[in-house]
Amino acid sequence: MSVKARELAVYDIHKSFPFGAGRLDTLAGITFAAGAGEFVSIVGPSGCGKSTLLEIVCGLIEADRGTITIDGVRPATLVGQVAYMPQNDLLFPWRRVIDNVALPLEIAGVDRGTARREAAALFRLFGLEGFENAYPAELSGGMRQRAALMRTFLTRKGIVALDEPFGALDAHTRRKMQQWLAGVSAELGATILLVTHDVEEALILSDRVVVLSPRPARVVREFPVPLPRPRSILDPAFVRLKGEILSCLDAEETLEREVVAHDRK
C-alpha cells in the first residue's frame, strides 16, 4: 500500500467541558509532534483526556485554543484528515468484513468494485485471509480488532490515530496483537498516534512515548525509545525504561493526590 506518511504537529491545545455550574478543564496546553512515519504513543492515567485529545486531532470536536498542523500546514478542517480508530472495533454488523474495511474508500468516492479489490490485497497482512465474506459476528475479538485496524489504514490518510485499540481484548490476545502490530507497522507506512494507558504496549510499539499528567492534562515528559526491534519485555533496557515511565506517571498522580488533599483542608 503506497500511502505517503504525513507529519503531525499539535501545539498548545486547550479544552474544557461544561461541568455542573462551571467548567472542567481537560486539556491544559498539549504540545507534541509526530514526524512522518513515526510511531508515537501517548500514555497517561485513565480519565486524563487522552481520548479527547485524539478526537480533537481527528476533527470530531473543536479545541478551545491551540493549533494542529499537518505537514506544516494548518488545514481548513481536520475532519477527514486523520484516520481514526475508536476504542471499540465498531464494525458494521450488516456489512461483510470486506465491505467493512472498504468503507472509507467508498466514502472517499471509490466505486465498490475497486474499493473491494484494494481492500482484498491487505487481508493477508492483517491475518484475515479467507474471511473476506464473513460477517463481523463470525470473527473472534482479535480478528474484529484487526479488521477495524485494516479499515483504519485503508482510509489512506497518512496519519492514523488509535484510541486504546486493544483495550477490550483479553491479556493473551492483546499481547499477540501488539507483537503483530509491531511487525507490520513499518510496512503500513503511516504516521501512527497511539493512545494507551498500558506503558508496556507503548514501549513495544513506539519510537517515542509522550507522558501526560492527570486532568487537566499537560505533557510531562517525552521518552525516546531507542531499543532495537523486535523488542522483548524482558530486555533489561526495556525494563529500565518502563520503570522510568511508570515512576514518572506515579509521581504525577501522587502530586495530584497531594493537591487534592491540600484543597480539602
Partner: protein, 286 residues
C-alpha cells in the same frame, strides 16, 4: 494464525447449528397441542350439550362447510381480499417509509406531525367507513384507503424509530472519514433502520388482511368479508367460522412471508442473536 482462525469459524458454526435445532422443535409443539385439544373439547361439548347449530357448530361441521365452499373461498373471495390487502399494504409501506424518513430528518415535521400521527391512532377506522363511502363511493379506492390507514402507522413509527436508533459511535466514525450528511444517512441510519422496518412490516402485514376484510363491509359483492357477512346474516355460523379461520391463516402466512423476507434480506441478524439473545437490533456488541 490460519488454524485458529478456521477453528473459531467452525466453533461458531457449530454453536449456531445447535441453537437453531433446539429452538425449532420445542417452539411449535405447545401451541399446536393446545389448539388440537381445544378443538376436541369444543367438538365434545357441542355434541354433549346439544348446542343449536345456528349458535355454535362443532369443528367437524366447520370443516365440512369450508370444504363445500372451498372453490369460492379459495378462489374469487380470497383473490379479491388478498389483492386489496396487498395493494393497500404496498401503499402504506411507501407512504410510511417516506413520511418516517422525513420525520427523522426534518425537525419541525417531527415536532408537528409526529404527535398528531400518534393521536390519529385513537380514531377507530370503523367510524371512517361512512365518510369514505360518501367521498369515494363503493369502488376500490375507499377499500385501499382503509387498509393503508391501518397499516401505515406501524410502518412509519418503525421507520422513525429505526433511523433514530443508529449507533452514535458509528456516526462519529464515518464522520471522521469525512462522510457527508447524505453518506451518513445512507450508510449508517438506513441499514440500522432495516431490522426495525421489518418488525413494523410484520405487524402491518397481519393487519392488512384484517383491514381488507373490514373494508368489504362497507359495500362489495366479492371477498372474504362479504362471504363472512352474508353467512352471518343467513345464520350459517359454520361458514362464518370457515371464513374467519381462512382470514387468520392468511394473516399468519403474511407474517411468515415477512419473516422469510427478513431472513433473506438481513442474513447477519441471525449471527448476532446467536450470542446476544437479542432480537438482532443493529448495534455493536462489546
Amino acid at each position: 494464525m490460519q488454524p485458529d482462525v478456521a477453528l473459531e469459524r467452525e466453533r461458531r458454526r457449530e454453536r449456531r447449528r445447535t441453537a437453531r435445532w433446539a429452538g425449532k422443535g420445542l417452539a411449535y409443539l405447545p401451541p399446536v397441542l393446545a389448539l388440537v385439544s381445544g378443538l376436541i373439547l369444543w367438538e365434545a361439548a357441542v355434541r354433549l350439550f346439544d348446542v343449536p347449530r345456528y349458535l355454535l357448530p362443532p369443528p367437524s361441521e366447520i370443516i365440512a362447510a369450508a370444504r363445500s365452499d372451498a372453490g369460492a373461498l379459495l378462489g374469487v373471495h380470497s383473490r379479491v381480499t388478498l389483492m386489496v390487502a396487498a395493494a393497500g399494504l404496498g401503499c402504506s409501506v411507501a407512504a410510511g417509509v417516506i413520511l418516517g424518513a422525513l420525520i427523522h430528518r426534518v425537525q419541525w415535521l417531527r415536532q408537528t406531525l409526529y404527535p398528531l400521527l400518534v393521536i390519529s391512532q385513537t380514531i377507530p377506522v370503523i367510524v371512517l367507513v361512512p365518510l369514505l363511502v360518501v367521498w369515494f363511493g363503493y369502488g376500490l379506492t375507499p377499500k385501499l384507503i382503509i387498509v393503508a390507514i391501518v397499516c401505515f402507522f406501524p410502518v412509519a413509527v418503525a421507520v422513525v424509530d429505526g433511523l433514530d436508533r443508529a449507533d452514535g459511535r458509528l456516526v462519529k466514525l464515518v464522520r471522521s472519514m469525512g462522510a457527508s450528511p447524505g453518506q451518513i444517512f445512507w450508510k449508517v441510519n438506513v441499514p440500522s433502520a432495516a431490522p426495525s422496518l421489518f418488525t413494523g412490516l410484520r405487524v402491518a402485514a397481519t393487519y392488512a388482511v384484517m383491514a381488507a376484510v373490514v373494508s368489504e363491509w362497507m359495500g362489495a359483492d366479492q371477498g372474504l368479508g362479504v362471504y363472512i357477512a352474508r353467512s352471518a346474516r343467513s345464520f350459517r355460523i359454520d361458514r362464518v367460522f370457515a371464513g374467519v379461520v381462512l382470514v387468520s391463516v392468511y394473516s399468519v402466512i403474511a407474517f411468515w412471508l415477512v419473516d422469510a423476507l427478513r431472513k433473506k434480506a438481513l442474513p447477519w441478524e441471525r449471527l448476532l442473536s446467536d450470542h446476544t439473545n437479542g432480537r438482532g437490533e443493529a448495534g455493536t456488541r462489546k
